[in-house]
């Protein structure tokens, strides 16, 4: 069972190295969104500092949502998904493996690069840790939720819009709590409450999302 988990993670990472440009898409997108804002909004430092956590979190959310749209698409098109459905390992496990691999090549990179981009907004040093930690807890939740949406809209042409409609309501709390944590820190206040809530979301998502997505996949692949 865990052989399959390892095999799927390995395979997806391998594919990611072969299609490195595809992997970079999410990251490049994230960098672009964040960097365009100073251009669009104007260079006033105070303004930029205030909107920085919001902009970075929104960009991370968008990057996650966009890259997730296609998490099962390739496997569906070439028939690999059918083989996964017929695997002897539980489908939830396979889905979890795919989500983990996906997060490693997109979410993690976003989390790592976020502090660098934040510097561009002149965000004070001590907030960088808070920002990174909030993203580190939040982005896996986004990946899990997104996987359910992607599974539900699989094969529906232009599932993209539908996917957004389905997952956004569930994304919004993560965004509010995550960006809120940084705002609190910027105001010099404690952030434990926010982090505890993010952790709670992570636990619930990790325990249930793979199974929900697995159920959705069986339905979509009919």
């Amino acid at each position: 069972m865990f052989t399959v988990l390892r095999c799927v993670i390995y395979r997806d990472l391998l594919l990611a190295t072969r299609r490195w440009a595809d992997v970079l898409t999410a990251l490049v997108f994230f960098v672009i969104v964040v960097s365009l804002f100073p251009l669009g909004v104007g260079p006033e430092p105070n303004l930029l500092r205030t909107i920085a956590p919001g902009v970075i979190w929104v960009a991370a959310l968008l990057a996650s949502m966009l890259s997730l749209t296609r998490i099962f698409a390739a496997d569906y098109a070439d028939g690999t998904l059918e083989q996964m459905l017929l695997s002897t390992a539980p489908l939830g496990m396979i889905v979890a493996a795919k989500v983990i691999a996906h997060w490693l090549v997109t979410g993690l990179l976003v989390v790592l690069i976020a502090p660098l981009l934040a510097l561009q907004f002149d965000l004070p040093q001590q907030l960088l840790a808070t920002l990174t930690l909030s993203l580190l807890l939040g982005t896996p939740v986004l990946s899990m939720i997104g996987a359910i949406g992607a599974a539900l809209t699989l094969g529906l042409r232009g599932g993209g819009a539908l996917l957004s409609l389905l997952v956004l309501p569930l994304y919004v709390p993560v965004l509010i709590i995550g960006a809120g944590a940084v705002d609190m820190a910027a105001a010099g206040l404690g952030t434990e409450a926010h982090f505890l809530l993010l952790a709670a979301l992570l636990v619930v998502a990790a325990a249930f999302a793979p199974w929900a997505a697995a159920a959705a996949l069986r339905i979509s692949a009919e």
Binding site: R18, R19, D78, G79, L86, S87, T88, A89, I94
Partner: protein
């Protein structure tokens, strides 16, 4: 039943060890749909599929352990090499194979020298061969379900796969397949289903 049309009904058959079932029918008659129902990928509107006494919908993993399915879309990734494809797909469905076995299987299908190439630059027939190489590694699996296995293969490869199926049948396994080509498979126990729409 696909959409609002009833494709077939009243099918009733039993497949014993060593049986070959050939599903025939015109384009669009529902062969692929039937095969997917037999795998449990599609749920029939009514009727049921039983395997060794249990309903396949409750057996699930139990049943899939004993099943190999290769469809029109053959689960081959263009970016991976032929060898990687074979190893990964086998592990994924729960069959353990070694590198050596996999290389052997590829070369028996005439892909020696192509193992380390990304599959996307291979020709269509070669890609199909990569998918079919799984058959060499699935000798222990008692039920094969193959949707147009000979599609895009040249005459040599067709022969090779044909022999392999005959061998598997003689080992006492069951095979279900569809094909539009008239390819003889030597086997005493052949059943035909012709779907007329």
């Amino acid at each position: 039943m696909r959409g609002r049309r009833r494709l077939f009904g009243g099918l009733n058959f039993t497949l014993r060890d060593g049986d070959l079932l050939r599903v025939t029918g015109a384009n669009g008659s529902g062969k692929t749909s039937l095969l997917r129902i037999l795998c449990g990928l599609l749920s029939p509107v009514c009727g049921m599929v039983r395997w060794g006494g249990g309903d396949i919908r409750s057996l699930r993993e139990e049943y899939w352990r004993q099943l190999l399915y290769i469809g029109h879309a053959h689960a081959v990734k263009g970016e991976l090499t032929a060898l990687e494809n074979l190893l990964v797909t086998c592990t994924l469905v729960g069959v353990n194979v070694s590198r050596g076995q996999a290389l052997e299987a590829l070369s028996r299908l005439g892909l020696a020298g192509y193992e380390a190439l990304p599959v996307k630059i291979l020709s269509r027939g070669q890609q199909r061969r990569v998918a079919l190489a799984r058959l060499f590694l699935s000798e222990k699996i008692p039920l094969w379900i193959l949707d147009e296995p000979f599609d895009a293969l040249d005459a040599g490869a067709v022969d090779c796969v044909r022999l392999l199926i005959a061998q598997h049948l003689s080992r006492g396994a069951a095979v279900v397949l569809t094909t539009h080509q008239e390819i003889r498979i030597d086997n005493p126990q052949v059943q035909y289903i012709n779907i007329v729409s």
